[in-house]
Each structure stands twice: as C-alpha cells, then as structure tokens.
C-alpha cells in the first residue's frame, strides 16, 4: 500500500470518527438536556485529532527510521573483506544493492519466483534491463542475496507500517470517542493542538536555517583543512586555478579580500543612491501625497520590485554600461581633448547604479509603512505648535520612525550584498582589488556561482571554497541583522 493511500485511509478514519462524534455529541445534548462544555463541532475535532495526529506522527517516524534500520542491517551483512578487493566504496555498493532490490519489485511475480540467492547477477541484470531498469556494471554475485533480503525487509516494513498506522488511527478514534462526555473539555484540547501546530510551523523555519548552516559548515571545515584560514581571509589575490587532471598541488590562491571589497563597494554605491531616493519617495508618499496620488504612485514604485534581477542585469549590460562609457568618453574629450572613456562598460558604478534602481522600491515601500505607522497624534502635536510639515518630519516623525527605518535599511543592505545576477552582467567577474569605482570588480555571490558551475569534482579546494564563501556571506548578513535588532531595541528602551 502506498504512503498516499495510507494517509488517505487515516483521513477517512478521522473524518468518520469526527462525524460519529458530532452525532453522538448532539444526541448527548438532546437526551438529558445536559449543558455541554464544548459544542459538538469541538467534540468532532477532538476525535479527529486523536485519530489522525498519532497515526500520522507514527507514519512519519516510520518512514524516516525504517530505511536507516534496513540499511544498517544490510550493510552489516556485506561479506567480510570483499570491498577491499574491488574499487567499490561501501556507499556505492549499497546503492547497487538498493537498485537491485527495487528492481525486483518491478518484475512480474512469475519472473521474481525464478530469482534465488544463487542466481548470477548477470542474469538478473539482463532481466532488469528488459524492464528498463539499468544496473551498474560493478554489481557482483554476492549482491543478489542481499538484494533479495533487502527487498523482503522493505516489503515487510511497509506492511507492518500500514498495520501500525491504521491500528493507531482506529485506536485513537475509539479512545477519543469513548472520552466524549458533557463535561469533556474538548475545546481546550483542540486549542492545545492548534497551538502545537503553530509552534511546529515556526520551528520548521528555524530548523531549516540550522540545517542550511550545518550543511555548509562541514564543507567549510573541509576547505579550511586544505587552505589555511589566514590565506583565505587576508589574501589579496583571488586566482583559484582550475587544476587539470594530474596537475596536483597547483591549488591557486584564494584571497577573499578582493571579493569582500567588491561586495561592500558595490553594495555601498547602490545604498548611497537608493537610500536618499527611496527615503524621499517614502516621505513624499506618506506625508505629502494625497490619497489619489498615493494610490497610483505606490503600486507603480512597487512594480520595480517585481522585475526579475536578471532583467536589471540586461538593462545594465545593454543600456547603462555603454551609456556611462560613452558619457565618460565625451566628458574626457571635452576636458582633455582625448576621447578615451575612463568608465568601463562593466564597472562598480554601473552595477551600483542598476542595483540602486532595484533597491529603491524596497527602501521606499518599507519606510513608507514605518512612517505611516507613527501615530497621528505626534503629527498633530507638532503641527499644532506651528511647525511646518518638513519640520514635523525632520524633528518628530523621522526620529520616531528611526529604529524601523534603520532595520529596513539593513534588510535592504542584506539584499544588496546577496545580489548576484546584476553584478555578473554589470560589474563583470574579474576579482580586482581597486578603489576606482569606474573599474570592474566582482562580489562573493558571483564567485560562488562561478566556482560551482561546470563539470567539477566536489572534493577540490576550487569547489569547496564556494562553501567557505557562502558561510562568510551568511555570517556577514547575520551580523547585519543582529546589529539591526540591537539598534531597534536600544532605541525602544530609550523612548517607550
């Protein structure tokens, strides 16, 4: 029975239990006119919870645990020393056994009967190939009995799981139904289940973050065991030569400084342009625009946020970059008479400018919400003292909105630091270390992509460095966010 069928069965049991509980509860109320603690719908939900939650939890645990148990059992019965003779690793061998085992289930019953422990693997492989199941040529005869054993265990596990889950569902429904009484606090019970579900939902997000960190952590540690952290964090040259086959030892240099500098520089230029424009737009929308203007301008600004960043990249590559280059040629021509452009088509300035356009709606939309949420009474108080609108904004509203605005800006900064596509197209992929904004630079994210694309093995420093870069980026944005929280808290303590 497939997992979906089992889930469906559990749902049916739950619904049936709920229906019966509803009827029973109604009859209780009608029969002795007793005052029910909870309305019948709560009794129904109570029974449904008892029927479904333990059963589905058991299903989940079983699905996670049984492959682990089966795998360890099968691996335990690998013949002694056999792996040492061949070039197979244990994982690879187990993978072949597994695909043999699942192949067995594809075969029709009469053909499966013919397979025994003594069947040579070549014969089985031939049989499976006819059914469209390819098996690695590294398979060996000793794997056949293991595959049969594995298959048997899996089938047994599935039957046992079905039985346990369905029994749990029935038992739960029965237990819940038996508990129904006029004074049963079903309402409170259902409330607890709702709370639990909400907690589970929020912990999933946290667990995922932790999972992501750990998945990067081990690769990062692996990287640092090959390249010293000193070289990575303080090196000023980025040149991770892709070592061809056989050229061991030419690892290249992994200086992180040019990438960090590029990331911060491009982000800085972008914020320098986006923050004033976005903030002023927000102030206009929140304080000056009448509701009709606002209802047109705000959605229009937010359209910018919906444009995919790769499109901004095109815009930079095709329009802004060449424009800046030609403009600089004209300027230098006018000043010195020599028409050479001093801005390259791909430059920090181009990337910063286009990224700023992308960030404006973030800054303006977030700040607008924050400014609008400053209580009206503060505005009235200031205007009532004879302050002008701009004095009110500068001296009362912006200070009151400051913590919110700062955290909005830091959020925007995190986005600027994480941006990839615009940088690839607008600033190039050359890892320069320069302070000239008219030169090409590149960022951490661009290099992560560059290191992970292509046909590579996953155990060389050239690819592992991507994880170290990712981890560093994560730490940087984490610090930014923590700092944002700190600012907000400090300010709140002071004034509220």
């Amino acid at each position: 029975m497939s997992t979906l069928t089992i889930i469906f069965l559990v749902l049916v049991i739950g619904l049936a239990g709920a229906f019966l509980a509803y009827r029973y509860s109604r009859s209780l109320a009608a029969k002795d006119g007793a005052q029910l603690h909870s309305r019948p719908i709560y009794h129904a939900s109570y029974v449904a919870c008892w029927a479904m939650i333990p059963a589905l939890l058991a299903l989940m645990v079983w699905l996670v645990v049984s492959p682990i148990v089966i795998a360890s059992d099968v691996r335990g019965s690998f013949p002694e020393g056999i792996l040492a003779e061949t070039s197979l690793t244990e994982d690879l061998a187990y993978g072949i056994v597994e695909s043999l085992g699942s192949g067995l289930r594809v075969l029709p019953a009469d053909e499966r009967e013919t397979i025994t422990d003594a069947t040579p693997v070549a014969e089985l492989r031939e049989l499976l190939n006819q059914r469209g199941v390819p098996i690695a040529s590294a398979s060996a005869d000793w794997m056949v009995p293991l595959a049969i054993q594995l298959n048997g265990m899996q089938i047994f596990s599935r039957w046992a799981m079905t039985a346990v889950v369905v029994l749990l569902a029935l038992g739960g429904a029965f237990w819940g139904y038996r508990n129904i009484a006029p004074r049963l606090r079903a309402r409170n019970g259902v409330e607890r289940v709702v709370t639990g579900a909400l907690i589970a939902a929020s912990s999933i997000a946290i667990m995922t973050t932790v999972g992501i960190v750990f998945s990067m952590l081990f690769e990062t540690i692996d990287f640092f065991s090959r390249i010293s952290p000193m070289e990575f964090f303080f090196g000023t040259e980025w040149n991770p030569r892709f070592s061809g086959a056989g050229s061991e030892g030419s690892a290249g240099s992994f200086g992180f400084i040019p990438l960090l500098a590029g990331t911060l520089y491009i982000g800085f230029v972008a914020m320098l342009i986006a923050v004033p424009i976005g903030l002023f737009a927000a102030i206009y929308m929140a304080e000056y625009a009448d509701s009709r203007t606002r209802s047109v301008v705000k959605p229009l600004l937010e359209v910018l946020a919906g444009i995919p960043t790769i499109v901004y990249g095109f815009f930079a590559l095709v329009t802004v970059g060449p424009f800046l280059r030609d403009l600089s040629a004209q300027i230098s021509g006018l000043v010195t008479g020599d028409y050479t452009s001093f801005i390259q088509a791909q430059s920090v300035l181009t990337a910063g400018l286009v990224m700023a356009i992308m960030l404006i709606p973030f800054v303006s939309s977030l700040s607008d919400d924050i400014i609008t949420s400053v209580p009206r009474s503060l505005r009235d108080g200031s205007l009532g003292l004879g302050a002008t609108r701009s004095e009110t904004i500068k001296r009362v509203i912006l200070p009151a909105a400051l913590p919110g605005i700062v955290s909005a800006l830091l959020l925007t900064a995190s986005r600027a630091i994480g941006e990839t596509m615009i940088v690839v197209l607008a600033a190039g992929v050359a890892a320069n270390l320069t302070i000239n904004p008219f030169d090409a630079m590149t960022t951490i994210t661009v290099k992560i992509v560059a290191q992970l694309t292509g046909d590579l093995e996953f155990n060389s420093p050239q690819t592992l460095v991507a994880f170290a870069l990712g981890m560093t980026l994560f730490v940087i944005t984490l610090c930014l966010n923590i700092y944002a929280l700190y600012i907000v808290r400090k300010y709140k303590e002071q004034y509220e």
């Binding site: 108080g381 009532g384 003292l385 001296r395």
Partner: protein, 269 residues
C-alpha cells in the same frame, strides 16, 4: 445639580465683559459630502475660559480644530464661513498657517509628548520659531513654561529623561507646557482630561484656571462638572448646531434652550 450650583457660585464671581479675541461667523465644515457644522456664530472673549459642551458627535471638536486650522491636515475637510483672530480673517490666503498655529496653540485629548526628553519637548516650539538667541534664553523659556504648567518641581531633576516616561497627568501638563512655551495668545484644549484619573484631572483644572490670567482658553469637555468648574462662558453644541451660548452660571442654572436643559439634566448625551 446642587453640587454644580455650589461650584458655579464660587467660580463665576469674576465674570465681567471682556474684549472679543476670536469671532466666528457662520462657520460650516464638510467632511467629504457630510456636513459636520451647520453655521456656527460664536464670540470668544479674551482671557476667559470658554467651554464647548454637547453630546458626542455634535461638532464641538470639529469647531475647535477650525480655530487654528488643524482641519487643513485632513484631506477631506472643507471649511466655510469666517473666523477672525483680533479682527484678522484666519482663512485669508495671506495668512501663514504656521504663524497662526504659533498664536493659537493646541492641547489634545490624549497626551502626545514627542519621543524626546522632557526638555526637548518643551524646547521644540521655541526652537522652530527662533524664540531664543542662546542656550540661557532657551533654558529660561523651558523652565518658565514648566513652572507655569505646574510641572517644574516634579521634573526639575530629570529634564533629560524621555517625556513618554511620565504619568498620564504629567504628560498632559508637559503638553500644556509645550504649548505655553511658544507664548500663544489662545490655547485650544480638546478634552484635555478625558484620559486622566480624577486627581490628575483636578491638577490640570487648577492649572487651566491659573492660565486664564495670561491666555485665552477654549476647552472642549464631556464633563459638565468640569465646564462648570473651569469656564466662564459655555457654548452648547448639538448635532452640528450651536444650541446656546452664555455665561456658564446662567447656562447651568437657567438655560434658555430646551436641548441645553435636557443635556445638563442628563436626559441625553
């Protein structure tokens, strides 16, 4: 009733004819298509407390907000008729609304100190209007305003602490000090005690009575006792109309209008 009568006898002895500070003629207010005031004609005497009373939604706060053009900040509001301050039409396009609001200050229903220190709250108005040439003068203004608002002794050691940290009554007196600091001629108060407990209310009422010496005060209140205690003139609003206006003593003892009579005897409201 007896209670109110007793208060009246004490408070109204000083009643005498005073020059008119603000005059309104046929003032109307529309919020969108809804008319909130139907032609109010009312004189506000100088250095007196004028109380505006009436049931909720009768337009008394709307009228108050016309007197320093706070209705300008509401997009949908439009004001008609004529209001003069010392004979000048305050809705004249030549009038600077910012200057007007410096002359006609306002204290709101809910205390609304800025999220700044006590000192900065009071110094805010003088700073934006450039009323002081140096720090000493500014200090002087802040201290005097706080003293006039009867708050100085309670806060003199913590002028740097946030104004939002004070109690409700103290916050409201801080807002009054803030309004006084720009030396307005008229102070408008929109139910200044409705968010306060009885003791804080008593303090603020005493303060209002003292402020009458230097300022013209218009106060909107829900409490008839309060109107009787602090005001010399009372105007009764009803459904956007001015039902009756007269010396407070007369309004509470012998009102001409049936609606006033019903309201002060608690038949509606």
């Amino acid at each position: 009733m007896e209670n109110i009568q007793a208060t009246l006898n004490r408070g109204q002895a000083v009643q005498s004819a005073k020059p008119i500070k603000m005059k309104s003629q046929d003032v109307t207010v529309h919020y969108g298509s809804k008319q909130a005031l139907n032609g109010i004609t009312l004189d506000i005497p100088e250095r007196q407390v004028t109380a505006l009373i009436g049931p909720s939604g009768c337009g008394k706060s709307t009228y108050l907000r016309c007197l320093n053009r706070m209705n300008d900040t509401i997009d949908s509001a439009s004001v008609g008729g004529k209001i003069t301050l010392d004979g000048e039409d305050i809705y004249d396009p030549a009038i600077d609304v910012v200057e007007l609001r410096a002359r006609v200050g306002m204290v709101f229903q809910k205390p609304n100190p800025f999220p700044k220190s006590i000192y900065e709250n009071v110094a805010y108005g003088p700073k934006i209007h450039g009323l002081s040439r140096n720090k000493q003068e500014l200090d002087e203004i802040v201290h005097t305003s706080l003293k006039k608002a009867g708050l100085y002794n309670e806060v003199k050691d913590r002028l740097d602490e946030p104004g939002t940290g004070l109690s409700g009554g103290q916050q409201q007196r801080l807002c009054i000090a803030r309004a006084i600091a720009v030396s307005p001629e008229v102070i408008l108060m929109d139910e200044p005690c409705s968010a306060l407990d009885p003791i804080a209310t008593a303090t603020v009422e005493e303060l209002i009575d003292e402020l009458r010496e230097n300022f013209t005060i218009v106060i909107v209140t829900h409490s008839m006792q309060q109107a009787a205690r602090v005001s010399q003139i009372t105007a009764m609003f009803h459904l956007g109309d001015l039902a009756e206006v007269g010396p407070t003593e007369k309004m509470f003892s012998n009102p001409d209008d049936k609606r006033t009579q019903d309201y002060i005897t608690g038949r509606f409201g």
